[in-house]
């Protein structure tokens, strides 16, 4: 029987998200998808998934999950930690993939100041796709459930039976600092030269008015040129920074509408989009200008860096005694060094586990 993941507590705003909808922009459907695309990529690599497999994106309050009918393989993104309860209580931390055995429950906690985080899910969520995606856009009823996750929801899983033990990255990514890189435009001419200097020289604060559609910034006012603050609505991509008449910029994010009528002074480069997901109200940020070519080079460099991280996977909790593994391996008769849990990282799960 395939495993199911039960949401005993769904959390405040938990959504299934993957790399986003494909082919929807032309009919007004935004990209959607996980805000932290880098974390999604790494968690899927850690789980041995396809890199576009869906995860649960959580905000404010993290869920409490239980595996039923079979083991569920999960991985926690940055900002999350958890306590597993059952016959082998243990703690799990960020950047760790672990197996939640049937009947076990994990209560997750989101770090204070962490706006969103991802729970990677091993294998595949056995629910239908729309627009080649299992992302969720509640305002259009799009997604496997067409809404945010609710208490009592059950996610049927496929293909996550193998248990290679707790795994983590030898060198997990570190939070980056420094200015966010952005390419000027698409509407350079709608701003004064002074506005460009202000934008790329000034410091902005993240406002509380921030959601999956956009992040309002507060800081030095940006002046429009004689062309004014209206354009004929044109296309938007996540990262585009529009400036309405107020002169205060708004960074558009995954769920932003597909077209917009405000001039866009610059666009955050793809390699730095995931950093936006880690910003919380009150955080300060700066922008630096780069060219399209530099942005493309940065995209390739970022992917290479993620791949280097993904290729160095080690057992997690080294030094901690794995009661379950001890119980299994010692009873079978193998003499092991109980202080070296990596002696048995690949033990298999008995079929008849209670």
């Amino acid at each position: 029987m395939n495993a199911r993941l039960l949401l005993l507590r769904a959390g405040a705003r938990s959504l299934l998200q993957d790399t986003g909808f494909r082919g929807g922009r032309g009919i007004g459907v935004p990209a959607a998808g996980a805000l932290d695309g880098d974390a999604l990529y790494l968690l899927n690599r850690l789980l041995g998934n396809a890199s576009d497999a869906a995860a649960i994106e959580v905000a404010l309050v993290a869920p409490k999950l239980r595996a039923e009918d079979g083991p569920a393989r999960l991985a926690l993104g940055p900002g999350l930690s958890g306590q597993v309860s059952g016959d082998n209580p243990r703690k799990v931390s960020a950047w760790t993939a672990f197996t939640l055995h049937p009947g076990e429950t994990v209560a997750l906690t989101l770090d204070a100041g962490c706006p969103v985080a991802l729970i990677g899910i091993g294998g595949e969520i056995d629910l239908p796709m729309s627009l080649r995606s299992r992302s969720t856009l509640p305002r259009a009823g799009l997604g496997p459930l067409g809404r945010r996750l609710e208490d009592g929801d059950v996610l049927p899983l496929q293909g996550s039976a193998r248990d290679p033990g707790d795994l983590t990255f030898a060198a997990p990514p570190r939070a980056e600092t420094g200015p966010l890189r952005a390419v000027p435009g698409p509407q350079i001419e709608w701003f004064t030269d002074a506005a460009h200097e202000t934008f790329f020289g000034g410091e902005y604060g993240v406002s509380v008015e921030t959601d999956r559609m956009g992040m309002r910034l507060e800081g030095p006012r940006l002046t429009h040129s004689e062309r004014g603050a209206d354009i004929v609505s044109d296309g938007i991509a996540p990262g585009a920074i529009q400036v309405p008449g107020s002169g205060q910029p708004i960074v558009l994010l995954a769920d932003a509408q597909t077209t917009g009528g405000y001039p866009k002074i610059a666009t955050v480069i793809g390699a730095d989009l995931s950093r936006l997901a880690q910003l919380a109200p009150g955080d300060r940020l700066r922008f630096s200008a780069v060219s399209v070519e530099e942005a493309e080079t940065a995209a390739r460099a970022r992917r290479a860096a993620l791949d280097r991280i993904a290729e160095a996977v080690i057992p997690a909790n080294a030094g901690r005694i794995d009661l379950r593994a001890l119980w299994q391996v010692n009873l079978v008769g193998g003499a092991v060094d109980a202080l070296r849990p990596d002696h048995f990282p690949h033990h298999s799960e008995p079929e008849d586990r209670p």
Binding site: R22, G23, G24, R25, G26, I27, G28, V29, S130, L131, L137, R139, A140, G141, L142, G143, G146, A182, V183, G185, P186, Q187, V232, S233, D234, G235, I236, A237, P238, G239, A240, Q257, T258, T259, K264, T267, V268, I269, G270, A271, V292, E293, A295, E296, A298, A299, R300, R303
Partner: protein
Amino acid sequence: MELIAARPLADRAVTFELATRVGPEAAARVGAAQARLAAMLESGELPGALELSRAFCSITLHYDPLQGRQADLVARVRLALEGTPPEAREGGRLWRLPCCYEGEDLDDLAARLELTREEIVTRHAANEHHVYAIGFLPGLPFMGELPEGFSVPRRTSPRTRVPQGSVAIANGLTVIYPFESPGGWHIVGRCPVPLFEAERAAPALLEAGDRVRFDPVSMKEFGRIEAALAQGTIDPASFAETAQ
């Protein structure tokens, strides 16, 4: 046709500006370019390109910077558009959508436009509306042109809730709200046909390039059609005239 500008959205997308003023001429240019670029995307002539989205005067091409380069895509598009005549083939489906013209802003509009309610309804319903773009909300059509003398700016104070199916006008255009949403346009009527259904293979009913005529229906007839659509005894696709 001439490419007025290629405007980068960093390393994720590039917007091709093809016209400067919203209207039928811009729609024809954008339609012709869309057809050409969609064919190139389909046949793999745009390396790294993922999808296209169409606006009033421009097309945005989304791409994967790991699979292609913007400079290369822009060069290919510029060359292709040079050989593309700026008028669209008369394509797209013709839709006859029922509309109950009992909108809450009809009286206000009648006063502003110095027309009677009946004149507004008759002239709006006699007009063929061209879908210029789908945007703002999933499946929401922006349609033009409105008949002479129908030009009004948006309401000064937007409504926080415009009901699903509202047919509304502003800035020389007509829209239909696919979902309940905040909105600042003047509501003239309501259309019972769902414009966006997530569970359909093609979730949006209308496409840019389609044409729409509104058939006035009574409140009672509106209710009957709405119920039949909800029960599945009418297929929304049946409101399109069969191929010419």
